[in-house]
């Protein structure tokens, strides 16, 4: 495996802030390999992040980078992309960041279909604040704010984004590096809003509080609680029973792969057609 992804890092900003065993570094590496594969010049890439462990990604990347407010990365990114459509805009968010405080922006980004790539670093817990329950914490799992096990029904971010109308929806894990890099590459290439839900390891909080074990065991947990599908074939999956909170252990492994990849006109293209129509209308006057 090549180390050339390192050329996309800011050496002066290393080391990063993530704990030993954290999956975020693996995701960032996959993301950089995808950017390298696509041959995107650094000046043409903007990476926008929110707040949380994932938010720190932008500090270490040698692109045009913006570390925004909690939950709002997609809204900032919309402005960047619309003001400068030449930029390839990648949005890095956490699970609480994107689906609790930023949930409104996520569903509207899905329906609006701006050409953005959203990568959700989903560790199923709030890491930077010390291990609180997230909207993605599986039912029954412990956190500092659900010490007896969560009684909330969690979001399945893939279903949420499919339901909200996103044209490209995928899921992978920080255990599954090879497929992850391929999926991120395809998400960046997709001409519209593409979202990848990336389950990542948080051994420090999620792992410790749920007796998963060492960082190595946390990777095993990601492997064992997911069911890899062929990532290059569009697929569907059965609805989990949602009428009552279900304990995580009772659910079948979470499917990972590519769930939707449907080309459709993106917002920027449609907006340009409105500008043209507006100019035409102006001439007739």
């Amino acid at each position: 495996m090549s180390d050339s992804y390192r050329s996309f890092l800011r050496p002066a900003q290393l080391p990063h802030v993530w704990c030993p065993g954290c999956g975020n570094g693996t995701i960032v590496r996959a993301m950089l390999e995808a950017v390298e594969d696509l041959g995107l010049p650094k000046d043409d890439v903007a990476v926008i992040s929110g707040i949380g462990c994932s938010g720190r990604t932008t500090t270490i990347l040698d692109f045009n980078t913006m570390h925004t407010t909690h939950g709002r990365a997609l809204a900032f990114a919309a402005g960047v992309k619309l003001a400068n459509p030449k930029l390839k805009v990648i949005v890095v968010m956490g699970d609480g960041d994107s689906s609790a405080i930023g949930g409104n922006h996520l569903i509207h980004a899905c329906r609006r279909n701006l050409d953005l790539t959203a990568l959700i670093f989903n560790n199923a817990i709030y890491g930077l604040t010390g291990g609180q329950q997230a909207p993605t914490t599986p039912a029954g799992k412990r956190s500092t704010t659900s010490t007896l096990g969560s009684i909330d029904q969690p979001f399945d971010l893939v279903k949420l984004c499919l339901g909200a109308g996103a044209g490209f929806v995928a899921r992978s894990t920080s255990f599954d590096h090879q497929n992850l890099a391929s999926l991120i590459r395809r998400a960046i290439e997709y001409p519209g809003f593409a979202v990848v839900d990336i389950l990542t390891a948080c051994p420090t909080y999620f792992g410790r509080m749920n007796d998963v074990g060492e960082p190595y065991d946390m990777l095993g947990y990601l492997r064992d609680t997911t069911q890899p599908l062929d990532p290059f074939v569009e697929t569907s999956f059965d609805d989990a029973p949602y009428d009552t909170p279900v304990q995580a252990e009772d659910l079948p492994p979470l499917p990972i792969g590519l769930f939707r990849d449907e080309p459709r006109p993106d917002y920027g293209t449609l907006y340009q057609s409105r500008i043209a129509a507006s100019a035409q209308k102006g001439k007739k006057k």
């Binding site: 000046d43 913006m66 809204a75 500008i275």
Partner: protein, 379 residues
Amino acid sequence: MNSQRLVQGNEACAHGALYAGCTFFGGYPITPSTEIMEILAHELPARGHVFIQMEDEIASISSVIGAAWGGAKAMTATSGPGFSLMQESIGYASITQTPCVIVNCQRWGPSTGQPTKAAQGDVMQAIWGTHGDHPVIVLTASNVREVFEMTVKSFNFAEQYRVPVVLLLDEVLAHMRENIHWPQPGEIHVVDRHRPDELHGFKPFAGASFLPFGAGARFHVTGMAHGPGGFAVTDDAAGRELRRMMDKIHDHVRELTTAQSHKLDDADVAIVSYGITSRPALAAVEQLRRQGVRAGLLDLKTLWPFPDHLIDDVADQVEQIFVPELNLGQLVREVGRAAGGCCEVYPINRVDGHLLTPDQIVQSVTTQTSRYPGGAVTA
């Protein structure tokens, strides 16, 4: 083109923005600001620029800040409830020194309040609304022609000082129509952001030079305390940067001050007003003069940084200053502080959703009474 036009305040604001070179509007509908958005939804695409209706006001201001870093001259317009939602990101714009304009057509509050009634209750929120000390410029206007001019000035200051500028209008000014001289191209000075002369070694947060994303100098923008290079700092460096950002506004208070005075030269009594309330205040001055009271008016267009120097001069000269406002006393506290005990400062307040009348102001001045429970404000 006929240079006279009968236009609404919100229409003047939208066209003032276009005159200033606005290329991006992100917004969310809210009374009484919505016409600004509706006009720009038509006019921006017709000019090849960007209009987007976002999912809420938080997304609106966030998209505006993103657009500024994408290279746009960007603005949003809202009213009280939306303005409250925007506060966190206004702080982000302050600390990242992002040029942008936020128009707040004030309505009666708090909360939903009276959406179609005018108020001036957001003055302190405009100055202090986001957490932490932060640089911001707050402007206002008292007639439709001024709305146009002050919108252009808002963009100019945003560009020149790399700071969010809040333009405080109100429901009456937003919706009233006046026959105004329509500024022709070149008539009002338009400022564009200063580009750095040299990309090599460019420090994105060191000064007035601004470079958008994709212009060849890759850098980091963050809401964390950061140094001139953009990366996080703590302790002394954080304090130093915050002071520098505050100083860039407060050291230039004279350049940032816009105000008009009327019959102040020989005045014993001054009225210090702003926004829509300057209209009845002007009429009150005339009425008081007819009654033999030597009254004068200081009509402030710049509310922040606060023009202490103007109040100093007035306070040295007059016996009393009256500050009429459509709130229970906000800017009067700044006036009282700036007057520094050199004269008495009295608030005149109205909060039922209607404008103060000239008669009410005259009566307050002649009886030196006020409905404000604290009475005179002294420093």
